[in-house]
Structures are given as structure tokens and as C-alpha cells.
């Protein structure tokens, strides 16, 4: 009996240790008041274009809730999310297979901004200041609009190939952009007019992250090539230590810059606490085929979510020590954000 009591006590302590404190959770909730978690879903396996409803698109999970509800585009194969926030207004963006969708009324109604020229929109990066400026990446290059999406221009000068998986705006300098292209990471210092390869040392680039606290620190992952890092803004690159030569599809860095996370095809979730120089396996779940996106809470670095290639979302509240399945089973989740 005593042994059982002891066991229960130990288990309770372990559980308590694994959970954020009630006070912290409350603070966490207060800071996030008015926000919701959003997830974009590319596909639900078993669906077919022209077939039955796919149950993909944009999903919302209110703060403190555990249920994801489809709020838009249950038929739209969706790749990414973006937001522009002004003083009194905001615009939500969805990068979708049939164009860039914009909502100016808090996700209630949407409009497609692009036309037939832009095929799949793989990512969106709205300028953080000027709402008129929007960048998108597509299988046929980066496109830029300077008039809120009414007109678009292809911006590929300096790029060797045309597939661009993601476009990212520098955390400190909105004229500086990064493009995750097919064969390299590219950088533009003139708002996309010209691009230069960073020679990251990969042949098939899959992921990229810039350290929000130390912007000179860059990480990139490649197909069957592990992770590479630059500590000087892309001038020189080195292979990360400790990670396998696997395919890393997602990299994220905590807002304080202390912890990096990476995952990909049958890799499990890896973590680094030394600017990406060395890595260790944090968590592995054999049910997960691939990790396609990683979310780190901006105010609580211990709160993580990962989107998978077909097994929905997993969530950890203790910096990755314990995880729970957090919905959207069967879905390929491409991006998770906490947005107002």
C-alpha cells in the first residue's frame, strides 16, 4: 500500500513538474487575450480533387480550448499564413493553392488577391509596416505586390531556379528578405529586386529560420542533408553536429533565441541550445511520418506545437518533455500561428 501511495505521489510530482504553473498559465492567457490559434491544412489523406469534401483550409482553436474548427476554405489546399497588424486594423493572409487569400474583417470573409498568373502560393510575407507591400513565394518564383495585392510582379533577378518554397522578411530590416529556393537560400537587400545565393551548402533546401534575438544566426535544413548554420548572417556556413543527414522540413527558434527546434521526415524533433551548433533528439513518435511545421509560443518558449504531414498536431507545454495529440488527425498541417 505504501509503495502504491509512493508511486502515486511520484507520478503526481512528475505530472506537476511537467505542467506550467497555474499562475504562469493565467499570465500566458492574459497576454494572449483576444487571440486564437490558427492552423492551415494542406490535405487530408484520402481526399481527391473533385471528390468529397476535403476538410482542409483554415482551422481555429480559441485560447484555452482544445478543439480545432474549420473556419474557412474547407476545400482549399492551404500552405501558409501571414498577418499584417496596424494600429486599428489588421489583415490576415492565407497562402493557398488557388491564390493568396486576404481577410480584412478578422477572418470572417475572404478575397483572392492573385489571378491565374500565380499558381500555388506556397508562403506569404506581408511587410510588417507597409500594408501595401506583400511578398509570396510560388513554384515559379517570388512575386511582390506594392498595392495591397491588386497587381503582382515576379521578382527573380539573380535566382538560378524558379521553385521558391518560402519567402521570409528579416526580423530587423524589412528591406532584407530570404528566399528558400530549390537549390540554395537566397538573400535580397533591396526588397526583392535582386537576389544573391548564400551558398548554404545544400542542394535541395527545405527549411529556414532566422534567430529572432540574434538575427545573424541562420539555420537551414535540406533533403537528406541535415541542418546547416551560419553565425554571420549567411557569409559562412557549417554543418550542424549531432543531427543525422536526414530531411529537415521545419526549423523554429524560440523568441529569446535560446532554443532551436527542427524536424522532418521520420526524424523526430531535435533541439539545440547553442545557436544550432549541436543538436540532440528531444522527442520521437513512430506514428509521425514527418514534421512539417513547428510553432514556439512567443511568450512561453516551453509551449510547443508541431504540425505533421498527416498525423495532425502535437502539443507540449513543457518544452518538449511530454506531448499530446492535439487534433486534426489525418491532416497535413503546414503552419500554426497565434493571431489576434
Amino acid at each position: 500500500m505504501a509503495a502504491i501511495t509512493k508511486l502515486v505521489l511520484v507520478a503526481a510530482l512528475v505530472l506537476l513538474a511537467g505542467m506550467p504553473s497555474a499562475a504562469f498559465q493565467q499570465e500566458h492567457q492574459e497576454k494572449d487575450q483576444g487571440k486564437n490559434y490558427y492552423a492551415v491544412v494542406f490535405l487530408n489523406r484520402g481526399s481527391l480533387t473533385g471528390g468529397t469534401q476535403r476538410n482542409v483550409g483554415l482551422f481555429k482553436r480559441p485560447l484555452g480550448d482544445t478543439i480545432w474548427t474549420n473556419i474557412y476554405g474547407r476545400n482549399l489546399l492551404s500552405f501558409g499564413l501571414g498577418i499584417w497588424e496596424g494600429k486599428s486594423s489588421r489583415r490576415h493572409y492565407m497562402a493557398v493553392g488557388n491564390g493568396l487569400h486576404q481577410s480584412v474583417d478578422g477572418t470572417k470573409s475572404w478575397r483572392i488577391l492573385t489571378d491565374w498568373h500565380t499558381e500555388e502560393i506556397l508562403s506569404v510575407a506581408p511587410d510588417p509596416i507597409d500594408s501595401a507591400v506583400i511578398y509570396v513565394s510560388t513554384p515559379f518564383g517570388v512575386f511582390k505586390s506594392i498595392d495591397e495585392g491588386r497587381h503582382w510582379e515576379k521578382k527573380m533577378s539573380g535566382m538560378k531556379k524558379w521553385f521558391v518554397k518560402k519567402v521570409v522578411i528579416d526580423v530587423n530590416n524589412r528591406q532584407k528578405l530570404f528566399a528558400v529556393a530549390e537549390e540554395d537560400v537566397y538573400r535580397s537587400t533591396d526588397s526583392g529586386e535582386h537576389w544573391e545565393p548564400l551558398h548554404a551548402g545544400l542542394t535541395d533546401v527545405q527549411s529556414f529560420a532566422q534567430d529572432p534575438a540574434f538575427p545573424q544566426h541562420l539555420l537551414t535544413g535540406g533533403e537528406d542533408n541535415g541542418i546547416r548554420l551560419s553565425l554571420d548572417g549567411g557569409g559562412t556556413w557549417q554543418a550542424a553536429r549531432g543531427v543525422p543527414k536526414a530531411s529537415f522540413y521545419a526549423i523554429a527558434i524560440s523568441p529569446d533565441g535560446h532554443t532551436a527546434y527542427a524536424g522532418g521526415f521520420k526524424t523526430g524533433l531535435w533541439t539545440s541550445t547553442d545557436d544550432g551548433v549541436s543538436w540532440k533528439l528531444l522527442w520521437q513518435n513512430p506514428d509521425i511520418e514527418a514534421i512539417s511545421t513547428i510553432y514556439v509560443h512567443k511568450n512561453d518558449s516551453s509551449h510547443l506545437m508541431i504540425g505533421t504531414s498527416g498525423q495532425g498536431i502535437y502539443e507540449s507545454l513543457d518544452a518538449g518533455k511530454t506531448w499530446r495529440s492535439a487534433g486534426l488527425q489525418g491532416c497535413q498541417v503546414r503552419q500554426i500561428e497565434l493571431y489576434p
Binding site: 473533385g50 488557388n98 491564390g99 489571378d115 499558381e119 500555388e120 515559379f140 512539417s292 504531414s309
Partner: protein, 606 residues
């Protein structure tokens, strides 16, 4: 089936035989009307709910209340993207003057609230934009809030028109990307026919008719008794080995009067349409009095990565007689997943009227060339909708390790398969209904299909495997039940496991060579010489017609000592249809008739 319909089908079979002969325009039109009536008569009394059932009722002014009820019910939960858009707008256009205000309002509301996806292939885009164009014309001057995509009627009209003209331009300059697809022919024909009938914009109305003519002509010149001849961009199982099951065959029935009577939904809206095939096109489709070679250039579907060119060229060669056709693409990955690189199709025996071979290849590289997701997860995603993709026994698909060289009715296929490739064998399909399948002492496999003889000379050792067609409750590639519920056996698979490999195909008809015994004798005196080393696969062969073909994998082709330059292939080149690359113009000729489709001038001239 009631007695009346039974006799109607018998009559249609008789008419079909008559249609295989060339007939006057007047007779053709009368027979077309009978076939169209046969198709639509099945739908205007059908009790099952569907857009086509409603469209026919509206068109015939028959049982409108039922049609309204169907439309309202169906529009409670629209689904199917562009596969919804086409029948929905087609039904509306047939019924808008007869449908109830409630049905009309339900249709309008659906275009406001249901957001169809634009899709990711050429046929999706064609259907999407054609139906959006027609819808935007029907509901003009509406603000973005009245449309599912937030764009105004004018914006949708402009966007859709621009895309359609772009598609027509690229198709008539460097070729169609999703070309010559027996299963995807309807997805192009139907929207163009709708445009030709219903577009208010005179330019788009003309363009719709011209483009319908264009794709019908493209089919007609490679048509043989309801079948599409040659290599294809896309085909599903089972149509790849049961050719008359494809959607194109339903159109061949309606427009050429060939194949078998069908009640395929694909041809319901065309059967209601006022679009009629120009005489020259069905004449080209039906006149097989002279054997001919026809060549085409198409383009590879948009290559998004792992390539140096967005739309590399596809070269197609077909040899067509009254009894058979043999056609090929040059090989390599030209389309993802469902490519059919070469095949022989003939008129004898149904349903298995074909012999073909392939390297049943699949790879992350292949799908990654055409789809933007991460390549390692893509295979599972593709398999979710194209179930046979990663099956080593599949009967569709191209391969980077396969190349062809065709001259008239002789074809060489070579393989140089890298070790470790997803499949390291090649397969050949030999149907069960062949009268003969004899392995000659020379090594030739001599086959007899009625008056058509096919020789297959394997370059490496092989084995035979008996094939079952469809087991009970088997689902096909798109998750639907196979048409056959009874297990059928008897087809044969030739399988060879040697990575450096290949074969020679010779096809002749009784008219061309005499008896089957004479064909066998001829084969036995013509055997190829091959070198089969990794990285050095080549073959020399003198055809039954006496032409010397030399082929070194992958691209060195020599005929009678002259190098073949495939890059000179025209958009269309043959006795019936000709078009230059970049011309935006197709010229059809048949006897003393001529028809020119000039897309630059948007003009049809004779």
C-alpha cells in the same frame, strides 16, 4: 431496361457499323441526333438525382418540378470543385429560363458561398476557368461579396478569359501539356463545347468552338474505332488495357459513331449542345482507307523543380492503319504518374484490344518535379488518390530509364535501369483474347489478334505471369468500384528483371504481310543485335520493311544511316493535320476539303 430501349441500342449498334463508313453530312447529322437522343433519353427519366438528370429535363422541358427539386437538393451541399462547376453551370444554362425562382436562387447562392478549388492540373484549370467565365457572364455587375472568391463579376470574367486565351495560346504554339489523354479528353471537350454554345462574348464563343474543333481533330487523327492510338499523357487502369472504357471513347461514340453505345455522363451536356463536329474532322476520324504516319509535338506538364526547363517538348509518333495503330512518346518522364509511353491498339477483340510495355517506375523525384510538397511525403499523398502509383505491378507510368525509337510499324524500346531504382523489372501486357501467343525459336513472341499480328522480341530473359483483372470489390485508381465484379484471369504479363533491357515490336496486318505464318517467317529472319551493358545500351535492327534502325540509349537514333533529330518535330505533321510550332494555326486537309483554325486571327476558314 425496357423493350424500347433495348431495340434502340440494337439500332444504334447497327448505326455504329454504318458510321464506320463515311456518310453524307445530312446522314451524319441525323445519326448524331439519334445517338444524342439515346444518351439524353436515359437521363430525362432517371429518378436518381444529378445535375445531368436535371439539365436534360430542363432542355427537354420535361418534368421541370423534379429538375428543380434535384437542383435545390444538390446545391444544399455542393462538392467537387471544377467537377461541380461544369455540370452546375451547364445545368443552369440549360434550365435558367425554365427553372423555378427557388432553383435559380439556389444556383446563384452556390456561386457565392461554395468555394471550388482551382485544382493543380491543366484539365482542372480549363474546366475551372471556362465555367467561371460562363457564370460571370450570367451574373454580371455583381460585387465581390456576391462571389465565392471575393472578386466582382468583371474581375472573374477578365481573369477567366485571360487564362483561357493563355491556355489556347500555349496549346497552339508548343502543344497541350495534358495531351492525348483518353481519360481526360472529356475535361477539355466539355468546357469548350459549353463555351461554344453559351458564351455571350463573341470572341470566346468562337474560341470555344475552335478549341473544341482543335482537340477533336487531335483525337480524330489518332482514332481507331473508338480508341485513342499512341502514347498518352495520362490514362487510368483499367482503360489502359480496356481501351473502350475511357472517356474519350464515349465522345467517339457520340461524335464519330464508333465504339459502343454509352450513357456516360460526360457526353450528356455535349449531347444537348448545338456544337457539331465539322465534317472534315469526323472524316479524318473514320477514313482508314490509307495507312499513314502522324507525328506531333506536345509539352511536358509544368516542371516546377528538378529540371532545367518548364515545359520540355514531347515527341509523338503514330502509325495508323484500318486494323491497328502503334504509337509512342520518346520516353523519359513526360508526365507524372499516369503516362503511357507506347502501345499497340487494334480492332480485333474486346475489351482487351492492346499490347504495351513499361518500366513500372515511381519516385519522389518524379512527383517532386510536378508537385510542390516535400518529396518524401508526396508519394503517400499521391497514392491516396492514385492508388497504383507505387505498385510494382502497375500498368501506367513513365520512366527516366525508358526510351523509344519508332519508324512506321516497328518500334524499339530500350531500358538502362540504375540499380536501386524503385522497380528493377520491366513488364509487357499481353491480353487473354489473343488467338496466338507463340514463342518462336528465334526468340520472337508472335501474337495474332484477328487480322493483326504483333511481334515482340525481348532482349533479355523473361517470365510469364498470369494476370487477374479485377477481383471482387476491387477499387480502381480513383477509389471507385471496378466495373467488373467478377474475377477475370487470362491476361499475361511478360516480366524481365534485367536492368539493361529492351525489346523490338513489329506489327503487321493480314493486308500488309499475308498470313500469320508468313509474319512468323518474316520475324524469324529479322533479329536485332543488342549491346546491353550499364551505361551502354544499344541496338541495331533491320525492320521487316527493310529499314535499318540503330538506337543507342538514351537519345541516339539513326534510320538508314541518317540521324533522327526529334527537335524538328512539328506541332502536327501528317496527311490530315499540320501545324507549325509557334504558329497558333492548325490546318486540316481531307481529300479536297480544308479547314484552318487560326487562333491569332480567331478565325475558322475553309
Amino acid at each position: 431496361m425496357n423493350v424500347k430501349k433495348f431495340f434502340l441500342i440494337l439500332t444504334l449498334f447497327a448505326l455504329q457499323s454504318a458510321n464506320a463508313q463515311l456518310v453524307s453530312r445530312e446522314t451524319y447529322l441525323k445519326e448524331f441526333e439519334k445517338r444524342a437522343s439515346f444518351v439524353t433519353s436515359i437521363y430525362d427519366t432517371a429518378q436518381s438525382s444529378g445535375y445531368y438528370q436535371a439539365a436534360v429535363r430542363y432542355a427537354h422541358g420535361k418534368d421541370i418540378a423534379t429538375a428543380d427539386k434535384m437542383v435545390i437538393e444538390l446545391l444544399r451541399d455542393p462538392r467537387g470543385d471544377m467537377f461541380w462547376m461544369i455540370p452546375a453551370i451547364g445545368t443552369y444554362l440549360q434550365g435558367k429560363d425554365r427553372m423555378s425562382p427557388e432553383a435559380r436562387a439556389a444556383m446563384r447562392n452556390a456561386w457565392k458561398t461554395y468555394a471550388p478549388y482551382r485544382g493543380d492540373t491543366e484539365n482542372h484549370w480549363c474546366m475551372y476557368h471556362a465555367s467561371l467565365f460562363l457564370a460571370a457572364e450570367q451574373w454580371p455587375n455583381l460585387p465581390g461579396s456576391e462571389w465565392y472568391n471575393g472578386k466582382s463579376s468583371e474581375e472573374n470574367l477578365r481573369d477567366a478569359k485571360e487564362y483561357l486565351i493563355h491556355w489556347m495560346n500555349i496549346t497552339t504554339t508548343i502543344g497541350q501539356g495534358e495531351f492525348d489523354s483518353p481519360d481526360y479528353f472529356p475535361e477539355y471537350a466539355m468546357p469548350m463545347i459549353l463555351l461554344s454554345q453559351f458564351a455571350k462574348d463573341p470572341e470566346m464563343k468562337t474560341r470555344g468552338a475552335m478549341m473544341a474543333d482543335y482537340i477533336f481533330a487531335d483525337f480524330a487523327v489518332e482514332h481507331l474505332e473508338g480508341q485513342y492510338i499512341g502514347g498518352y499523357s495520362r490514362i487510368y487502369q483499367p482503360a489502359v488495357y480496356k481501351p473502350l472504357l475511357s472517356g474519350a471513347s464515349a465522345f467517339a461514340y457520340l461524335y464519330f459513331g464508333t465504339g459502343e453505345p454509352t450513357n456516360s455522363g460526360w457526353i450528356v451536356l455535349p449531347a444537348l449542345s448545338n456544337y457539331r463536329l465539322p465534317e472534315i474532322i469526323y472524316s479524318i476520324a473514320l477514313d482508314r482507307s490509307k495507312t499513314y504516319v502522324h507525328q506531333e509535338r506536345k509539352r511536358v506538364r509544368n516542371v516546377i523543380r528538378f529540371g532545367a526547363e518548364k515545359n520540355p517538348p514531347v515527341y509523338k509518333y503514330s502509325y495508323i492503319t484500318k486494323n491497328y495503330g502503334i504509337g509512342s512518346l520518346q520516353g523519359g518522364i513526360l508526365q507524372p504518374i499516369q503516362q503511357h509511353t507506347w502501345g499497340v491498339r487494334y480492332t480485333y477483340g474486346r475489351p482487351y484490344t492492346t499490347i504495351f510495355g513499361l518500366h513500372p517506375y515511381w519516385s519522389a523525384l518524379e512527383v517532386g518535379m510536378f508537385f510542390p510538397e516535400e518529396v518524401k511525403t508526396l508519394i503517400a499523398d499521391v497514392v491516396a488518390s492514385k492508388g497504383t502509383y507505387n505498385n510494382p505491378d502497375k500498368w501506367t507510368g513513365g520512366s527516366p530509364y525508358e526510351r523509344t525509337f519508332q519508324h512506321k510499324n516497328a518500334l524499339i524500346v530500350l531500358y538502362d535501369i540504375t540499380p536501386g531504382t524503385t522497380t528493377e523489372h520491366i513488364d509487357g501486357f499481353f491480353p487473354r483474347n489473343l488467338e496466338e501467343r507463340i514463342v518462336e525459336p528465334s526468340g520472337w513472341i508472335a501474337c495474332k489478334a484477328g487480322d493483326v499480328y504483333i511481334g515482340w522480341y525481348p532482349l533479355q530473359e523473361y517470365e510469364w505471369k498470369e494476370e487477374s483483372d479485377a477481383s471482387i470489390n476491387t477499387l480502381n485508381d480513383i477509389g471507385r468500384p471496378q466495373l467488373e465484379r467478377v474475377k477475370e484471369t487470362g491476361n499475361w504479363r511478360l516480366r524481365s528483371y534485367k536492368p539493361q533491357n529492351g525489346y523490338v515490336i513489329e506489327v503487321r496486318s493480314k493486308d500488309e504481310i499475308g498470313s500469320f505464318a508468313q509474319f512468323q517467317s518474316a520475324l524469324n529472319t529479322h533479329t536485332p543485335t543488342a549491346k546491353l551493358q550499364p551505361g551502354a545500351v544499344s541496338l541495331q535492327y533491320v525492320t521487316l520493311s527493310g529499314d535499318k534502325m540503330e538506337f543507342a540509349f538514351p537519345e541516339k537514333r539513326t534510320l538508314n544511316g541518317s540521324a533522327i533529330d526529334l527537335s524538328k518535330t512539328k506541332l502536327f505533321e501528317g496527311p490530315f493535320i499540320n501545324a507549325e510550332v509557334g504558329s497558333e494555326k492548325m490546318t486540316m486537309t481531307y481529300k479536297n476539303k480544308k479547314l484552318v483554325l487560326d487562333f491569332k486571327a480567331v478565325k475558322i476558314s475553309e
